[in-house]
């Protein structure tokens, strides 16, 4: 009939490509355009730089993919990025905490924020849009209150290395984390009971409940994971900037949502895959990178980025409709 194996995780390497033809098409077209416009694009240095740039958005988008498949949304992640970066740097610089403790504390605060979101959403059935928006304000507030709105410089070598170091002197560490996280989350979503339950809840909550899925537990875990990933992204970002800045987080939640949607994750829940999200994050990263290389001002970039995302999503939705039309009519 139609839509063979659309939503469940693809098992073979091949399905990573066959299941994402739309977004891969967009990606290829984009690469060709940028490569034609500037010869700086396809240099090894730039490719690595693009990968590094998309890594932070990708960490967040991985969690967001799970959240959206569940049928929820998490608007707090950008603020958690700012909060964890600002606090962790502050803990080291102002409080003189050992670096390991400070990092653990920074991540723990992100986890706590996610956990609270998850508990409120699942126990009280409050729309995630509202509660995570409230959490966004709280986390932003905490970052500003703690820092007084100032950025804090950090010189700790280990901390700086987290975001700026290299593996084998060539692969940036943030890219290494990204690859590991992609592998872990792909596995989680496609190969474990937990992942199956995420699809089941998003697809049909009542059917999942009657099939023995402990819905609240799964929801709480997913929101907590999202908070943890955002906190981790905050650490890496702070490290790359040599500072904790309370203003850096804004917009990350939207980039993450855009990556998911571009990658074919349904806002209605029940459908989506990690590989799609990764391609989505690449598209967003390449748009920024390409526009930078071409020399478009960052204000114009916002407009262009918005338009490209809108076009890509419309194209993708039409692709589905066209396929359906061909089969039905």
């Amino acid at each position: 009939m139609m839509n063979e194996k659309k939503s469940t995780a693809g098992n073979s390497i091949l399905s990573v490509f066959t299941g994402n033809t739309g977004i891969i098409g967009v990606l290829v077209i984009l690469c060709v355009i940028v490569a034609l416009a500037t010869d700086k694009f396809l240099t090894p240095g730039n490719v690595i730089s693009v990968l590094r740039q998309i890594s932070i958005n990708t960490y967040i988008a991985l969690g967001m993919t799970l959240i959206i498949i569940l049928g929820h949304i998490d608007l707090a992640v950008g603020a958690i990025v700012a909060m964890s970066g600002t606090l962790t740097v502050g803990f080291v610089v102002n409080q003189g905490m050992p670096i390991g403790v400070a990092i653990a504390a920074g991540i723990a605060i992100g986890i706590l924020a996610g956990l609270i979101d998850g508990v409120v959403v699942s126990k009280f059935r409050v729309p995630a849009f509202i509660i995570t928006m409230a959490m966004m304000n709280v986390c932003n507030g905490i970052a500003y209150v703690y820092s007084g709105g100032q950025s804090t410089r950090i010189t700790d070598k280990f901390f700086i290395a987290i975001g700026t170091g290299y593996l084998f002197n060539i692969i940036p560490l943030p890219v290494v984390y990204m690859i590991i996280l992609i592998a872990v989350f792909s596995f989680l979503l496609s190969k474990t009971k937990f992942g199956t339950y995420v699809y089941a809840i998003g697809g049909n909550r009542e059917a999942a409940r009657l099939s023995g899925v402990l819905i609240k537990k799964v929801e709480i875990i997913v929101f907590t994971l999202s908070g943890a990933l955002a906190a981790f992204a905050g650490l890496v970002l702070a490290s790359r900037m040599y500072s904790g800045q309370p203003s850096v987080g804004s917009g990350y939640e939207m980039d993450a949502i855009a990556a998911c949607v571009l990658g074919g994750t349904s806002m209605a829940g029940g459908r989506g895959r990690i590989s799609g999200t990764v391609f989505g994050a690449m598209v967003i990263g390449i748009i920024s990178n390409g526009l930078n290389l071409i020399g478009v001002s960052s204000y114009w970039q916002l407009i262009v980025k918005g338009l490209i995302i809108a076009c890509a999503v419309v194209l993708d939705s039409q692709k589905g409709n066209l396929a359906l039309l061909r089969k039905k009519k």
């Binding site: 009939m1 139609m2 839509n3 063979e4 194996k5 659309k6 939503s7 469940t8 098992n11 596995f187 190969k191 474990t192 009971k193 199956t196 699809y199 089941a200 697809g203 049909n204 009542e206 059917a207 999942a208 409940r209 009657l210 099939s211 023995g212 899925v213 402990l214 029940g270 459908r271 061909r326 089969k327 039905k328 009519k329």
Partner: protein
Amino acid sequence: MGKTILEMIDIKKSFSGIYALSGINFSLEMGEVHALLGENGAGKSTLIKVLGGIYKLDSGKIRINGQDVEINGVSDAQEKGIGIIHQEIVLVPYLTVAQNIFLGREIKTKFGTVDMKETNRRAGEMLANLSVNIQPDTLVETLTIAQQQMVEIVKAVSFDGRIIVMDEPTSSLSNDEVEQLFGIIERLKEKQVSIIYISHRMEELFRISDRVTIIRDGAYVGTKKTSETNANELVAMMVGRELQSFYARDYNDLEQAETALEVKNLTCEGVFSDISFRVRKGEILGFAGLVGAGRSEIMECIFGARKYQSGSVLLKGKEVHFSTPIQAIKAGVGLVPEDRKKQGLVLGNTVGFNLTLASIDSYINGVAISDRKCQEVIDYYKEKLRIRAVANRVELVEAGSLSGGNQQKIVLGKWLAIKPDVLILDEPTRGVDVNAKFEIYSVINELAKEGIAIIMVSSELPEIINMCDNVCIIKAGKMPGMLGKDELDQERIMQFAAGGEE
């Protein structure tokens, strides 16, 4: 009766080269109720969609009042006097009855605002015309499903509808409500409105239809006067062969059988009270009663999907109290829920996903799910239950794209995969075509033979009577009686279920 209002001649419609309708003939007389009968997928909906302007026909003729017409779109169909009552109600819940009836053609005052007074007055007239006892200013969301359906009918007639199509109108109605609906159909007939009536329920067709047209696999099989045919003939025409024993049942000797599940004085306040019964291995225990009597709720309580206040549940003699479904599943109790679309399936996901969802714990190696183990189970149940789709590998197809019968088999398979000792089936054949029904009955029979204790909640008395060893009758949350298989007949059951106090 007499004058032909609608003729559909040699209607053909194909989708990507495959004929969904390959030459259907259908005619409708004024004031006639003409039933359209066929299995799921036979082409009933396609034919109706052609008539309703949703699909364009490839070839063939439609004549209304003797004139050739072309139906271009839904509003064109309405203008030609064709009103379709779909299975799903399509009213706006937060508007009043009158607002819904006049939606899209609001009556305006001279200032251009909506004239609510006039709207209510005219809607009130229309309702009264068909003796529908609903106030026009009631919010639709406060109405029962049956009342909403009546509003839909009034709305369809209000478009000067001369031809009303009812697609499985009784599928979610209780017996009382069905009677009300039939009352309305009678009044419509008196007003010379013609009705095309689609239903799976034989008894209904015989009660209200004048003629029956049977279609099978998109082809026209024949038209019969209802008074000159019988259920066996119609089923044979629908299926294309005689079904000798529709209800396959080999009764087990239950004298020595162990009690699998016992329920004592179970009470869920405000829903049901003091329910006691037991079901033995190899027994099929039926639950009859009216819709809304509390049967499904009793099952949900046993299964841990709903809280109960008092009473006890004993599984193989040991007291249990499940507070979540997963506990019931682990203890070997399965529940095939009443509504497969809302409660049974993740429609947007694959057949394989759904088949393995409830039993997923058994396929895990370490932390990862073993594809091989899943595949074994999927292959076994798709074969055993004969789950079919156009695609070769059924398990990769979206569950929502299969027919009702196949969907029901998936839900059944999902629960068989947990290897239950006790299996609760809530309306196992609702909205399922004849062939799938037959197959589901034979699977249920096999399960009973294997020694599984089965509880079957059903509103279809023939299947209760022909499949069950014993039947509990539930009336308004109480259990006034229990009948053994030798005492089962429709009248006695209905007497208990609906009759006066005894």
